[in-house]
Subunit: 484 residues, 2 copies
């Protein structure tokens, strides 16, 4: 009886989800200036992770924003920047959702922005494409404001969330969220939930609500091929002393086919084939390839992965940088002493970093190389005609992927479908990496990402911006999550 | 009758060449301090090509040094630094030799030298390995002083040169000798000879007199493979957007076999097979490969060219630099917009630069690339899936090579053989490039190089030095040339 009462009070049994969008939209229309103003005020507090005093000001401000709404709000101290935590229980709710956002932002170089101060928001443009320009406008302060606005809108409509709500706001995501996993041990009780929903990142370019079930991980490695101990004259010794840049080229070329497929043995082991359900989901993602290819100036994608949504289901072997001696003004006619490729390996759930790196090592050895773990000494130079080093460059971040069939994830999709009259864009995985993957792993319950801001927000760059119409629409998206 | 008198006077008919070395050595022993002092005085005048006032002081000083010996000496003005010219005729001589040296030197960074001033010579070491440290000690002022000392030694012995002697001293060799070819038109009458002998460069590491019949040329080119218009996120688009660094690697790898042999069609056309005479000459060069490999820290030379002297008979395709985005601190996880290899192609007589570059272009096109001659515009980006640019980077320098059978060149070898009791080290070609190759070509008569200074002279670098014993021995070598 108490359960039924609670559900009646919260409106869950009486309010048709199909009306939610219109209800929230009406509220947004009436309160848009106040919502935008609240965002503007939050953006005015500088939030580079290393700027400790301002990070603290952000945290205090956010705690107050939550408290004002009646959430039990507090600041959780960590070994790094503080977390802001809030909770709102709905009596009788049978699910707890942990919403994750971050309140820190990328560093800024004000000289590259069109406005004098990236922390003094500027609105430019008219009508549907009006945008607010400021650091963290999209990444990731807008979702915080939208989440609290969604709670306001529901309350005005007499609707409580259908789940217990927990909110955790990270203060160092752009610095790698290093204090997040250690904080779990300290705050385990506050971090129990059935589902984490990450409100971060750009939505699909179609503008439709988007749910992502995972993200690729990343490992970065440097591959160096050694030549003579120091550069030697290319005239006196050219054709005779082997060239490490040419050898690096051949070694890299041996790793990938002309079609873009990685040839390292076992690199794709365990990935695919995809189930019928997965294929349906992947194929249902709206294809805006042509527009993307035009934007990037690329005539044709890799032949092995003609469809982007399939391409990102596989791990990558990407050259992010090449260096050997000099090109351009400093170029000298020498056989260089070494050549290095900086690689990044995007990981999927089935391909942990150690495994891929081990396969890469085996491949290099199979090409006749002796691998060293530091620059070779004279003796090593004379002992091996092919010398290389594969150096893991910083700790890897694992991939995460919540099963498509997970009931909590399905509930997210179902609620968005009911609210918007069509299923959201469902991404089996994002191509990129989220630093909170270890946090997801450590929490031990499923997580999905609901990215809500405009895809062209110039995230991480100068002139970061938020399309205001998309932002205001996202309040309905989040309301649907609160009422799932 | 007058001819016989002249020859008697010059000692050509009465003086056995086998005694020349002892005679000159005795003179050198008696005059070593004066010779070293003359060199020291010359080295004390700074000689960086761009330092016009000091270059002029060098030229005046050198003109006086020649005039003091009774040479008709003058300064020849050019569009750049002045040439110093001297001539000494021997009545009845049937051959005219043009000796070429240069009096300018490489720029200096005094902070990297062990001595305060690279233009204040310092002698270090005792006994046979005593060395004089100064800019241009070896490259190329020592040969000038040795040449004039050889004339002094012969005169003291009552021996005239057996050829008419012309000396031309270049004032901008280290800056590319750009005024040299234009000067020919103006001074054609002074530059007629039967043979040019270039006194420049390090002798063979065996310390034996050395004659080189040619030098490889050089063309430098930059090869760029284009990717997306600007770098794109390697997570969001990895596996889908082709990576230009990987494509450059594959393209470079297609150009050379694992054994170091160039696979570009026709690259070696016209080179070899070598005649029996050439093979004898190449095989007779003392092999100090093991020492060189140890010095460089290389376990094994290219399999296609295990012998250095054969390796340098062929044109090269050398990667002197690689660049794409960043490696190390600035590395970003992107698919770069482009990747560039800086290449140098060492040329031999049979492989002119235009021809090799055309073959390289054809090879790149055969790999499916559309070649552009500037950065591609949007339309070009969308039209071709494989885009590259091959840019010739500055004017090439041709190879030169005087035929091994050339009578004047044979006379040089014969004279050195008679004087030293064994044939000199004969190099069919040097591996490196000499900027005066166009000068040789324009003059139209044969040229050989007789490099006389120690091989380990740190030429072009800090702490350039001259092994004094080698320098003093070179006076006998040059005397043999004057008496050939």
């Amino acid at each position: 009886m108490r359960l039924v009462t609670a559900l009646l009070l919260s409106g869950a049994l009486v309010f048709p989800q199909a009306d939610l969008r219109a209800t929230v939209s009406a509220w947004v229309d009436a309160h848009r200036l106040a919502v935008i103003d609240e965002l503007r005020g939050l953006l005015a507090i500088p939030n580079v992770a290393a700027d400790t005093p301002n990070i603290r000001r952000n945290a205090e401000h956010l705690r107050e924003m939550m408290a004002k709404r009646g959430l039990a709000a507090e600041i959780l101290e960590t070994t790094g920047n503080p977390l802001v935590y809030g909770t709102l229980n709905t009596p009788g709710a049978r699910r707890t959702i942990l919403f994750y956002c971050h309140y820190d932002g990328q560093p800024v170089d004000p000289t590259k922005w069109r406005q004098p101060d990236p922390f003094t928001p500027v609105i430019r443009g008219d009508g549907p494409d009006a945008r607010m320009f400021a650091r963290s406008a999209s990444d990731d302060k807008a979702p915080i404001v939208a989440l609290l606005a969604a709670l306001d809108a529901l309350r005005t409509a007499g609707l409580a969330p259908t789940s217990n709500v927990e909110i955790i706001l990270d203060g160092e995501e752009e610095a790698g969220s290093v204090s997040l996993v250690p904080a779990i041990a300290r705050y385990r009780d506050r971090l129990r939930a059935d589902l984490m929903i990450i409100l971060d990142g750009p939505g699909h370019s179609s503008g439709r609500p988007t749910v992502a079930f995972g993200a690729r991980g990343i490992a970065t490695v440097n591959l160096t091929v050694y030549g003579p101990k120091s550069g030697v004259h290319s005239g006196n010794y050219g054709n005779w002393i082997p060239n490490p840049a040419m050898r690096l080229a051949a070694l890299l070329a041996s790793m990938k086919g002309d079609d873009g497929r990685v040839l390292v043995t076992g690199y794709y082991d365990g990935v695919g084939p995809f189930s019928a359900e997965e294929r349906v989901m992947i194929d249902a993602v709206p294809d805006d390839s042509d527009r993307m290819l035009r934007t990037f100036g690329v005539a044709e994608p890799e032949k092995a992965f003609p469809k982007l949504q399939y391409a990102i289901q596989y791990p990558t072997l990407n050259i992010r940088g090449l260096a050997s001696s000099f090109v351009g003004a400093g170029a000298r006619t020498i056989i260089p002493d070494r050549a290095t490729a900086a690689l990044d390996l995007r990981l999927v759930k089935e391909t942990p970093p150690d495994d891929l790196v081990a396969k890469l090592r085996a491949h290099i050895e199979k090409q006749g190389y002796h691998l060293v773990d530091r620059d070779p000494d004279d003796e090593t130079h004379m002992k091996y005609s092919k010398l290389a080093r594969l150096e893991v460059d910083g700790p890897p971040t694992n991939a995460f992927r919540t099963p498509v069939s997970d009931p909590q994830a399905r509930a997210v999709v179902a609620s968005l479908t009911r609210t918007f009259g069509q299923p959201p864009v469902q991404l089996r995985t994002l191509g990129g990496t989220v630093p909170i993957a270890p946090f997801i792993e450590a929490l031990g319950f499923p997580a999905v990402t609901v990215p809500t801001v405009n895809f062209d927000n110039n995230q991480h760059e100068e002139n970061e911006n938020l399309r205001i119409a998309t932002f205001l629409d996202s309040i309905s998206v989040i309301a649907a999550l609160l009422r799932m």
